[in-house]
């Protein structure tokens, strides 16, 4: 099995790497690049959404993407939206609404929220539920997540 060369934009920075082709984007982000905000929860089934990243504006489960498939694409992880100091407005809303319990699903849920609001700044309740339906929370804090998304809608994504 030969290594492949992959070039993509990660959190705004051009990134080139050499990788075994059978690694997923999730494997590379966590194990090669140290971006451990992205989580593996269901073991690569695409069931839980904990490994959600944003690729070219769309929320994607990074466990279901081989590293070669991101050639030329823009990948954003939770680290990419977190400012040096403080929080992104969606992160702050999650904290303030109490939408964070164990925290394991949180980065994925926040990125799914970001992708939703970037494409639809004022989603209906149904659209919010649909936009987050791929992100499982086993502390079952779904209602608080909806509250958090409403906070962001009311207050805006800009600081």
């Amino acid at each position: 099995m030969k290594n492949i060369e992959v070039e993509f934009t990660l959190n705004g920075k051009k990134t080139s790497l050499s990788s075994a082709p059978n690694l997923t984007l999730l494997d590379v982000l966590r194990d090669e690049l140290g971006l451990t905000g992205v989580k593996d929860s269901c073991g690569g089934e695409g069931e839980c959404g904990a490994c959600t990243v944003i690729i070219n504006g769309k929320p994607v489960n990074s466990c279901l993407v081989f590293i070669g498939q991101v050639e030329g694409l823009q990948v954003t992880t939770i680290e990419g939206i977190t400012p040096e100091d403080g929080y992104h407005p969606i992160q702050r809303a999650f904290v303030e609404a109490g939408a964070v319990q164990c925290g394991y699903c949180t980065p994925g849920a926040i990125l799914a929220t970001k992708a939703l609001l970037d494409s639809n700044p004022e989603p209906s309740d149904r659209q919010i539920r649909e936009g987050l339906s791929g992100n499982l929370c086993r502390c079952t804090g779904y209602t608080k997540m909806l509250d958090a998304v409403h906070r962001v809608i009311d207050e805006g994504q800009d600081d």
């Binding site: 690569g44 959404g49 489960n61 070669g68 799914a112 992708a115 649909e130 339906s133």
Partner: protein
């Protein structure tokens, strides 16, 4: 994860060349293939990644028919105004698949090649008599979707072949179409039963043509032709929809599995067929000639 050599063709000729090699498997969105490779249900020695080929990602209006490239994602279909107007059942089906994360990666061609009896895009395509353009290094052929599906995970695709595109004719005059799915929950659900129905009404408002497809009730998604025959020429009303629901039970052989039981599937199939017919007729009646 198993080991393989990885190719990323940048053109259709290169894709055909790569797929002609022994042990090659085409990777579209990856939402089905990657978990199956992880469980060693698929063991390619060569993985041919199609993410470098934009040519297979399109939705085209060709007047009499609509053509969809095999690498078009479920999300693109769900958001397409053209699909919503010509095949609203397909639009609803695409929208009902998995979650936003899967819809943004999963493709129409992948859903068809994966050939799950529960595949949501298949019933709406079957009621439109869709056909597939299949290509390989040797040439190309066209095959009706109905003959393409051979069993769970089994299709008529030969080694080196891939789905280029899916096409279906527009329905004309007073028509309506509907898709209904029963799952264990609304999000992320694999269908326990899914149904698509289309009807055409004549000038007197009678059903001139009815088409019904049911998924997850047998080894492949099927057209229910006897029930379709019963509906032909009928004046559409609640009693006719209910009778069609009863008749459809005779045409299907569901099994019990992890998602549901024979009895529940028979009952749900009956209910969703009645409801889909009623919705399709209502849509057709709203179209003034």
């Amino acid at each position: 994860m198993l080991e393989f050599d990885y190719y990323r063709p940048k053109s259709l000729p290169e894709l055909k060349e790569n797929l002609s090699q022994p042990g090659a498997l085409m990777l579209a969105g990856g939402t089905d293939i990657i978990p199956k490779m992880r469980k060693h249900k698929f063991k390619p020695t060569i993985l041919v990644d199609t993410s470098g080929i934009p040519d297979l990602e399109f939705i085209e209006d060709q007047k009499e028919e609509v053509v969809i490239g095999s690498l078009t994602t479920h999300q693109q279909i769900a958001r397409s105004p053209l699909i919503a107007s010509v095949n609203p059942a397909l639009q609803k089906a695409a929208e009902s698949i998995g979650c936003i994360q899967t819809r943004c990666r999963g493709t129409l061609g992948g859903n068809l090649a994966n050939a799950s009896p529960a595949a949501d895009t298949i019933p709406p395509l079957l009621i439109y008599d869709a056909s597939l353009l299949i290509q390989s290094l040797e040439g190309e052929r066209t095959i009706p979707l109905e003959s393409f599906l051979l069993g769970p995970g089994k299709t008529s695709l030969e080694k080196g072949e891939f789905i280029h595109s899916v096409s279906f004719p527009r329905l004309k005059d007073r028509w309506g179409a509907e898709f209904i799915k029963v799952g264990k929950r609304t999000g992320m659900a694999i269908s326990v039963v899914n149904a698509a129905a289309a009807v055409l009404l004549d000038q007197k408002g009678r059903i001139s043509d009815a088409r019904i497809a049911l998924g997850s009730v047998g080894s492949v998604v099927i057209r229910c032709r006897e029930t379709e025959g019963f509906l032909s020429g009928k004046n559409p009303d609640r009693e006719v929809y209910a009778e069609a629901g009863r008749q459809v039970r005779e045409e299907i052989r569901p099994i019990s599995d992890v998602r549901s039981t024979v009895d529940y599937r028979l009952h749900s199939a009956s209910v969703v067929v009645s409801r889909a017919l009623e919705a399709a007729v209502e849509m057709a009646e709203r179209r003034n000639e």
